[in-house]
Symmetry: C3
């Protein structure tokens, strides 16, 4: 095992990345080497953990989380990554403090960063907001470091914004890598990222956008499917097309779940709200016309109802490669007859893949650790080599 | 001191328990050796702490708490146990995540467990619910380990359910052991577990049930007293009777506080809601008839009012062995003229025993640590021996 | 650098303080040596941190926070200090527990302290309450230690009460020390602690009181300015006068911002509510007449409106020494045209000093660490010497 880990460390040390002290907010802004470095560091930390070896990159310092939306998986993943790295977890509960927008973001960003190594942010509720907020926090702590306010600059971790969900998509990629044996083996594989019916409203676009923006870079055949009107943000769709071309893969947009599933190796059926609706929602909120929000929600749910047939059924699964495509989901899924009357996926399909969706989720803490290590250390490979060599047990005292 | 600790470690290492990787949810399901192993490990950790020796069983990993009811003592005890064991504390605030019943318990249980060594749960509000929930979480993470989803399986700690409150009752037992010198010395001692009047409604049954289910196993003379109608769950009362018989002790149910106090060595006067009312309450909640809950509460409080004389007064204390029985309470107590107009105990009685009730509570973090060590380590005695031998100071740097 | 740190440690070890096991609740109750010891320990910890050296005074144990008011800066400073010291952070969320006043403060204080090294408390909302509460907690854990309930006694940290805000004022003093080179250099410097207009109501008195009560002890020329009626608590104002006299400084109260600013080296313009209003507010709250609170607020805001000209403008800044006085603020400031329509300070003035206010805030975690070390260790200098000698890196594994 130690031999395998050594080989991964060698691969990591050979990469030239731009990750040190630079924030990884959107996968499509990062180089291929950056992506591989995060994946490798994540895999190494996971192997060390499973070998029972501790990885205390820090002996003190804070890992701060800011959740502007509910979360279970990501919240616990972040806490786990903090624990792996030896950091003290501190949640920035905005109701317990007095954070406002505008002028004070740079102030707050510095105030919470004096001894902070990483700030994880979820801000996915409003189109045009989350990513902008993260950039502003990132710029603010850059200024803080430059001007001597901060002794070090925390890494900003995107725990889901309006555009991307990189810790999810990278964990998903790690899951594919494990399932198919290597990144190379993903070449030519067809992945169907398709809309699915859900009785709930306003699910973010960041997961489907994250998937098409990332999987298109590994020579995969990406099929994006949704009912007419349920578009994603056009600039990201455009990027996915360009990536596919550059990586020797394919990218298509279709309006039929069946077409997307046909001969697919992987299916990712998941609901989202149309971009136009999400934009309208943000406008109403900004202009204070919250009274009209209820109408918008009603309209959106009524639209959804016309596409109840967008469900990942046993019949549809039969259309996939040998009827055995890998089913993926970021969880929780809307399961027909289980978590709702009718939803994204048939109960029998979900149950067959249930444990595999758990494994899919399992990689998230390590992906976050991989991002932290690459951002905070100039030579993450050297540090990981040290952990391997020291081999201090993570349990059983010392 | 080190000699005393060594002797405790020797005793622990001689015990054959079924605790490793198995959850301790109800004391009456555990063997005598299991109970003694938890007590011994707790005592050793407490002695090491008081000697200023650190006990970092883990170097990373999470201790997750799920509180479905308010808590001060248990919340802080759990945080303290986590700190003693070297774990990162993470509270599962259900309002900040989206936990539902049914299908999703197994999902959530796995999602919060990827790097988790212990999950502490308080779920004591509804008869028929708390214990079932804990069992489901326990089964879920067993599946997770078996199927390779989890790298390790967290211990499930019952921090109070509808049936038992084992960290309380074990801490109470530890208090008795210290007060009377040994477990052996408890043989033949009379303990009065009696209902007492409180102006508040719906106090859980788990403390009195936990006390009679545990103390009956050590040859004690257990007297359970309550006004007619204030029954506990019948299967647990039955078990207490069987345990008393087997251990050479006695068990009686009486309907007079005076009878219970007569010649008692220990008194534990505490309010609870009648089992039948608690069952009715669960039924109303399940059928959605929450409108009727107010009526039920009114009726219950009216019933309580008829038993205002069930108060632990100076006069009653005089009936106990030499008038000096040990007064116990899990805190907070309803103290007449202090925390309420009329309550469970007279102010002068409580004040005389106040500091002893604090000491009673003090054992809880160590009991939790004892449960964690026995669950997570095959040879907890060996690990504790290592801590003693290494004797690394827990303060003052290293 | 190590030479500088050694010299600071030598200075610290030469001081005779009363800080060990004694709580530092109000700066004016502490000796000069006490103040210097906290400053020195804070400076040493900060230097060690910036040198990348870890300072784990504890290997386990809790740092408990109780916030009875919102907080960002102090909350994160406390978490940072806990992390620096190696403690597990635990917030006492009173909504999640059942804390009441009176009898139960001593109970709760002990219940949360079994493995606790420090309790940080913010309780600044009501005149006559916060400091009393802290004293009660302090007395309670003293009893707990004395009676054998607690294995150790946590330090009580005043994170802002109705009277003083010592972690703020000490951090401010540290900022002045750095800005002017030494405490000695502060002698004769004029500091204007002045009221300023704010559109919000009920800001605590503890910051201005903390400033005049502390800065008057270092030979400074303290000018306290406010509109008629906006008095502070008279006993603290009296103390400031006495301190100034004893330290060879000056203390004056004026009713003009201009007079205070004239030739000032330092200005600290900040809003507060008049003492008489705050007293009235407490009375109404205690007597349950909360309906009248709205009227009081209206009246207070109407009063404020008459003093809109109390703003720290460019024009006023020109009156200060060479037009270049150091502007200070505890943050967040009410900035005209930025965080409010009209407020305490002009946008251009604030912007010029913005990064310096961040640096002012930066010292807080270290001041808290300095207080913890002096309270919990008999020989904090010896411990810090050990950290310096061991020089274990705080990042990069070990």
């Amino acid at each position: 095992m130690s031999k395998k880990i050594k080989s991964l460390i060698d691969q990591l040390s050979s990469l030239k990345t731009g990750l040190h002290e630079d924030d990884f907010l959107l996968t499509w802004e990062q180089s291929d080497a950056d992506l591989r470095a995060v994946l490798l560091a994540a895999e190494i930390v996971e192997e060390l953990y499973r070998e029972g070896i501790q990885t205390p990159a820090f002996r003190n310092g804070l890992a701060v989380s800011i959740f502007r939306d509910q979360s279970t998986r990501t919240r616990f993943s972040f806490a786990s990554a903090a624990s792996l790295m030896g950091l003290t977890l501190m949640d920035m509960d905005e109701k317990k403090s007095q954070v406002a927008h505008g002028e004070t973001i740079r102030e707050t960003a510095n105030m919470i960063s004096f001894l902070t190594e990483v700030i994880g942010i979820r801000d996915d509720m409003f189109i045009g907001e989350g990513h902008e907020y993260m950039k502003e926090v990132s710029e603010s702590v850059k200024e803080g470091l430059r001007e001597g306010v901060l002794p070090q600059k925390p890494a900003i971790l995107n725990l889901q914004c309006d555009r991307d969900h990189p810790t999810q998509s990278m964990a998903d990629l790690m899951h594919l890598q494990k399932t198919f044996g290597s990144l190379e083996n993903l070449r030519g594989k067809k992945i169907a990222m398709t809309w699915a019916y859900s009785p709930s409203y306003g699910k973010p676009l960041s997961v489907p956008q994250g998937i098409i923006g990332l999987m298109s870079r590994f020579g995969m055949n990406v099929s994006l499917a949704y009912p007419k009107g349920y578009d994603l943000m056009p600039d990201i769709v455009k990027k996915a097309g360009e990536f596919a071309k550059a990586s020797g893969g394919k990218f298509e947009v279709v309006n039929s779940m069946e077409d997307a599933f046909a001969d697919a190796d992987i299916v990712y059926p998941k609901s989202w709200a149309p971009f136009s609706i999400m934009e309208e929602r943000t406008k109403l909120l900004r202009s204070g016309e919250s009274a009209k929000l209820g109408d918008l929600e009603k309209q959106c749910l009524a639209n959804n109802l016309q596409h109840k047939d967008w469900e990942c059924t046993e019949e549809l699964m039969k259309k996939t490669k040998d009827g055995k495509a890998l089913y993926m989901h970021c969880l929780p899924a809307d399961i027909t007859g289980v978590s709702c009357k009718q939803g994204e996926v048939a109960a029998s399909v979900f149950e067959r893949y249930r444990l595999r969706t758990y494994k899919e989720a399992e990689h998230k803490p390590y992906v976050m650790a991989g991002m932290i290590l690459n951002n905070r250390f100039k030579d993450p490979a050297g540090l990981l080599k040290k952990f391997l060599d020291d081999a201090i047990p993570r349990r059983g005292g010392k």
